[in-house]
Symmetry: C2
Subunit: 337 residues, 2 copies
């Protein structure tokens, strides 16, 4: 298996990316390829003592930044790590592409270079949703599709269930539809129609779920449009940061509190670690003809390593093929409407 990592994407590139690849190389036997400015990446590898035998560097002379218009960047920067990397997946030179770079460029690249799986209207960016003290959920969609039709939400539910089962190992994952209430008749035109479609499928649908219950891990696959999904993942992140900051501020307020915080240090670090869970494992862009994972822009070496490890079952369990095979079932239900 050849796992290709974008050495140029994210706030901490290339240092933390390279460090994460080196750490992963110590644990797994898969071939690891880093794509980016060869000189820079190689220097980084040398410095970190990472010239192990299963790390290869692929040269790409350009980078795409977060400030660039994604479509234009993908169309014009042919030798960027993102465009060249996705082309390698397309051509079978790599099995999966991982990047902490521009989300917009990755989505545009996924659509233009890999292309949609035939029968999938809208590929979805699926993000691991942290559940403190429990098993994480998968949130689909988290921003690839701000405006959705009911069919799209049904596709998200299907693709999310496949990923959750094959990659995260959740058997017969439960699916919940984000709604503004769980009572019958609640919802928008969109959620009501999506509810009916998902209900007809073979998915393990538990019905509507409220945002209040997401932090408790009420379902394995959280289905919503990309606008709401974006608000959910970002608010969760913002609340986590705010809570940690507020605890720090209060726990340093006086000597007595500081002493208490020292005694609780292990527990406080545990909470902090769990809040960071969101950054681990990456977000697959499901529904395109190739495996790709978007990492958080602020990914550190640990997040990179974790995402590399998650990429293995993504490839081995043939998630892309499984989604391809599920299209017929989706279409049967859509046509019967």
């Amino acid at each position: 298996m050849r796992i290709l990592i974008d050495g140029m994407g994210g706030d901490n590139a290339p240092e933390e990316i390279v460090a994460g690849v080196i750490d992963a190389a110590k644990e797994i036997d898969e071939e690891l390829l880093i794509i980016g400015k060869k000189e820079e990446i190689t220097a980084c590898l040398d410095k970190q003592g990472g010239n192990g035998k299963n790390i290869e560097v692929i040269d790409a002379s350009m980078t795409i930044t977060n400030d660039e218009a994604p479509v234009k960047a993908v169309r014009t920067k042919k030798d960027s790590s993102i465009v060249k990397g996705l082309n390698m997946v397309k051509n079978g030179e790599a099995d999966v592409f991982l990047s902490a770079g521009s989300t917009g460029a990755l989505l545009a690249g996924g659509l233009f270079i890999l292309g949609r799986i035939q029968g999938i209207d809208r590929p979805t960016l699926a993000t691991i949703y942290p559940v403190i003290g429990g098993q994480p959920s998968l949130l689909v969609d988290t921003g690839a599709n701000a405006e959705c039709k009911p069919d799209n939400l049904f596709e998200f539910a299907t693709m999310g269930s496949i990923y959750m089962e094959k990659v995260i190992g959740r058997k017969n994952p439960t699916v919940g539809l984000v709604n503004n209430g769980t009572e019958e008749g609640k919802g928008t035109t969109l959620t009501k129609a999506a509810y009916e479609l998902i209900e007809k499928s073979n998915l393990n649908f538990i019905g509507s779920v409220e945002a209040r219950d997401l932090p408790d891990g009420i379902c394995d696959v959280i289905v919503t449009d990309g606008f709401t999904g974006n608000a959910i993942i970002k608010l969760t992140e913002g609340m986590g940061l705010m809570v940690l900051r507020e605890m720090k501020r209060r726990f340093l307020a006086d000597t007595r509190s500081k002493l208490g915080a020292v005694l609780l240090k292990k527990q406080l670090m545990g909470i902090k670690r769990e809040f960071n869970y969101a950054e681990y494992g990456g977000a697959p862009f499901l529904g395109v003809k190739g495996a790709m994972l978007k990492m958080h822009g602020s990914s550190d070496a640990l997040a990179v390593k974790q995402t590399i490890i998650k990429a293995i079952p993504y490839v081995r369990e043939k998630v892309v093929d499984t989604i391809q095979n599920s299209v017929l079932e989706i279409e049967e239900i859509l046509i019967s409407e």
Copy 2:
């Protein structure tokens, strides 16, 4: 000023409602009226020693529960505390109505009994959004309008700004539009069009805001559709509960942690109190021809007292009249489109 409180609404009615009214009566001189089953309310007042001279009980023989279809309940239960209470506001027998009862019934009652202010297309339920360690924001809409047009979001921004300035006392409040990014060109058809409308107004518009920044109090008035607003307020609540529960679980894990938690007790209670802020102050239903405040279903005596106190500037500052007067300005901008 006559402040009318629904004695029958919410999980803790009538005990906590009555307790909150008694507590408020000790602090303010306004006439307080409790509406509900007279015998029950009076017994409760007697038991709690609250037969002070500025608390009056108004009889209403029926109650509307959360399980009832709201429109039908409002149409048929004429002698319910909600229907009778809103009619008293309509007829000038009370200046403002407060209830922790069924949100659906309150919204339906507000629309049918008080009626919309002429020129306001969609009244909005505005909720105080907690900002830990800072000044709260106001979130409009939080569920009254799951599906919105751009005009509606502009109306929410206007009405929210008026309430924030007049009742919460925030001078020239900043207005932010929830969006899936702050870069130009980001957003849905709805948010893009709403952005243009709000930008043309005299409101203190700071542009798009991301959900990530809401817990930091990035703006005074948070504008969004009711579906997203509902998700935001409920997720914030769910995250707060989850964090408190997780802290408790971890801080009781072993003797050392327990000792630390004892030393931090004051600080932990402070965090807990701030998370509960959401429950204080009530949610005004803005855009109807009368003042009404929805309290959280789980309101306790403190929340009831706080909401009663917030109701005073709501009435005194003539928020309803001010919204009425703002309609011309809104219409000028909508017509110029």
